[in-house]
């Protein structure tokens, strides 16, 4: 049962062993070690997933919670933890030339994967903060990894916004510790009533700002477009697809366990609405593909927050669906933007040089828009259905904004598609897609199509997962009554 911790330990270990293997002279070892570790993590997480019957905790170092730090493993945590090694494998920075900087990128990617797995599993607020900072530091390094000048400025601005968020989040953590004297999420959820006053809600808002920087939540997402267009597109795919989802998971855990109140849900709802409106409008204005995708990912994450603001299991079901769909689609779209990183008008006739790339772009765009029977339809359907079911004025507004956002999304994505299939511009031919990127994007497309076919079992799986996720008393009992776990 304790082997799930290896999903955090192995990538972290690999990140520091990798630079050493470079000096052994065995070249293939350095190339193989990263993917092998990630595959091992994926395998053992999958084994834990299939052997799973009830949530359990792992007390690290056998110090029982709430004194020690505990990992809490349920389906929700396992799903997001499993997404980490799989997505990282698909976006692995495999370079043809094994130079020093390629090795550094691989180390940082492993570091990011380990930290993100920790974010999925940990059940302690301060431990989450540490993993979050670790992921942030790894991502700064990855952003400047391609060494072009705009990336340094973009990374510096990202660092400043993120560090500001961390300070605010740390104040929030201090505020919670003042009021309760604990930071264990299960313990906090038993003391939840103490936090149902203005000070507690202020602490929640501060945590949202702190952890929301990576989740591209509304007021702290100014770094997104410049970082995603200045960094390498595989890095952008990792950050937009994967890292943002794990940050969302942290906020959702805090919301469900410690602050299950209408006020906190409304805060997320309002921030989500702003995110959708700002993101989609700015994406419509954008004139190059990377920045269009970056702004649109802000809009999509707005939808994720709106989804998670729905009360009860409906919120978790809708939120998980939207988040996972966005993970698959946005990662793949950023992979395609690697070679198509120019102005949209310069993509004229790109379909004639890479048929598969254009076809994949159409598939992902249609799913993002929500064309049935693609999974994007179901995810948007769940969100809108949930909003319609509890129709307060704010939720109706959210519905209107999401629907309008979808129309705008259609306008800008179809603009790109029309350009791709327009008659080729012979003067400046569009560069071909790289084979590795096409392969990875095809894998994402397979996942998407499989999800479209297997809607029924997926639905049942997510429903069971959501039932567990909202069960706060179950969480408390599992964490606080297992002194022997982890031996």
């Amino acid at each position: 049962m304790t082997e799930v911790t290896l999903a955090v330990v192995l990538p972290l270990l690999g990140a520091f062993v990798l630079p050493l293997t470079r000096h052994t002279g065995v070249r293939w070892l350095a190339a193989v070690i990263g993917p092998a570790l990630l595959a091992a993590c994926a395998l053992l997480l999958f084994a834990a997933w299939s052997a799973f019957d009830a949530p359990y905790t792992i007390a690290l170092g056998s110090f029982a919670p709430p004194l020690g730090i505990a990992f809490y493993i349920d389906r929700l945590a396992l799903l997001f933890a499993l997404a980490v090694p799989l997505t990282t494998l698909a976006l692995w920075p495999a370079e043809a030339e094994a130079d020093e900087s390629a090795g550094r990128r691989q180390s940082l990617t492993l570091l990011l994967a380990g930290a993100l797995s920790g974010l999925a599993l940990s059940g302690d607020l301060f431990n989450l903060y540490v993993f979050y900072e670790l992921a942030a530091v790894a991502s700064y390094g990855l952003i400047v990894g391609n060494g072009n000048s705009p990336a340094y400025v973009a990374a510096f601005r990202y660092l400043m916004i993120s560090a500001l968020g961390s300070v605010v989040g740390l104040i929030g953590i201090a505020l919670i510790y003042f009021k309760t004297g604990t930071l264990n999420l299960a313990h906090l959820s038993t003391l939840s009533e103490q936090l149902a006053d203005p000070q507690g809600l202020a602490a929640f808002a501060m945590l949202v700002i702190g952890f929301g920087v990576k989740a591209e939540i509304f007021p702290v997402n100014g770094w997104v477009p410049e970082v995603y267009s200045a960094a390498g597109k595989r890095v952008a795919a990792l950050l937009a697809g994967l890292a943002s989802k794990l940050a969302v998971l942290v906020i959702v855990r805090v919301l469900l366990l410690v602050f299950p109140y209408d006020e906190t849900r409304q805060l997320l709802l309002v921030l989500g609405i702003f995110g959708v409106a700002v993101g989609e409008l700015a994406a419509w204005q954008a004139r190059d593909l990377p920045r269009m995708l970056a702004w649109s990912s802000i809009g999509q994450l707005g939808v994720v927050f709106v989804a998670f603001s729905l009360p009860g299991t409906a919120g978790v079901i809708a939120g998980v669906t939207v988040a996972m769909h966005h993970l698959v689609v946005k990662s793949a779209l950023f992979l395609l933007a690697d070679r198509w990183d120019k102005a949209i008008t310069r993509l004229r006739g790109a379909a004639s040089t890479s048929h598969l790339g254009a076809a994949l772009f159409v598939l992902f765009s249609l799913s993002l828009l929500g064309l049935p029977p693609l999974p994007g339809f179901w995810s948007k359907f769940l969100v809108l259905g949930g909003l319609a079911a509890s129709a307060s004025p704010l939720q109706l507004l959210a519905m209107g904004v999401i629907l309008t956002g979808t129309v705008i999304e259609g306008a800008y994505l179809l603009r790109v598609i029309v350009m791709l299939y327009a008659g080729p511009d012979t003067a400046t031919p569009v560069p071909r897609q790289r084979r590795g990127n096409l392969l990875s994007a095809s894998l994402f497309a397979l996942v998407l199509l499989a999800a479209a076919v297997l809607v029924d079992p997926l639905w049942q799986g997510i429903e069971a997962l959501a039932d567990r996720a909202v069960d706060t008393t179950g969480y408390q009992n599992t964490v606080l009554n297992t002194p022997e776990a982890g031996r």
Partner: protein
């Protein structure tokens, strides 16, 4: 007495946070932003230490002979140590980025560096920059001073 000192520390911690955050938001100089970040982090750390501090207690060290006296909560202090280490790492990384920006763009001004970054991104993507008040489209309506043109003409 101790309550008054506690209040002073609280006000100090919150002021440090406010000064630091204001510094990050308001200043344009890259190095000052890093310094402001250090101040804000110091404030947050002080707040975290205060959250577990008791004025009538001793240091949380078990010496063998437990006197039964109250001890200060050691958990926030351990957390603050972690937060300080993370903060130092992030500040060092920020400074190394400042050095690189200075090398590439020759400036330490945030707005100027950002402008040059946007220009370079636009240029790489082949997009004309959007119109703004600072950069109106087309020529400015005011012609160049006539005297300068005349002077240039007569020399030839």
């Amino acid at each position: 007495m101790s309550a008054a000192i506690g209040l002073v520390f609280f006000i100090g911690a919150i002021s440090l946070c406010v000064i630091g955050i204001a510094g990050i938001v308001l200043s344009r100089h890259l190095f000052r932003m890093v310094l402001a970040l250090a101040i804000a982090e110091a404030g947050a750390n002080l707040l975290l230490v205060l959250s577990g501090y008791r004025w009538d207690a001793v240091a949380p060290i078990v010496t063998g002979s437990l006197s039964g006296q109250a001890m200060v909560d050691p958990v926030p202090q351990a957390m603050v140590l972690t937060a300080i280490v993370i903060g130092v790492g992030v500040q060092a990384l920020a400074l190394s980025l400042v050095i690189r920006i200075r090398q590439r763009y020759g400036t330490l001004d945030m707005q100027e560096a950002r402008q040059r970054m946007q220009d370079e991104l636009d240029n790489d993507a082949g997009v004309t920059p959007p119109r703004s008040q600072e950069r109106p489209a087309g020529e400015r309506p005011i012609p160049a001073p006539a005297a300068v043109i005349d002077a240039g003409g007569r020399h030839d």
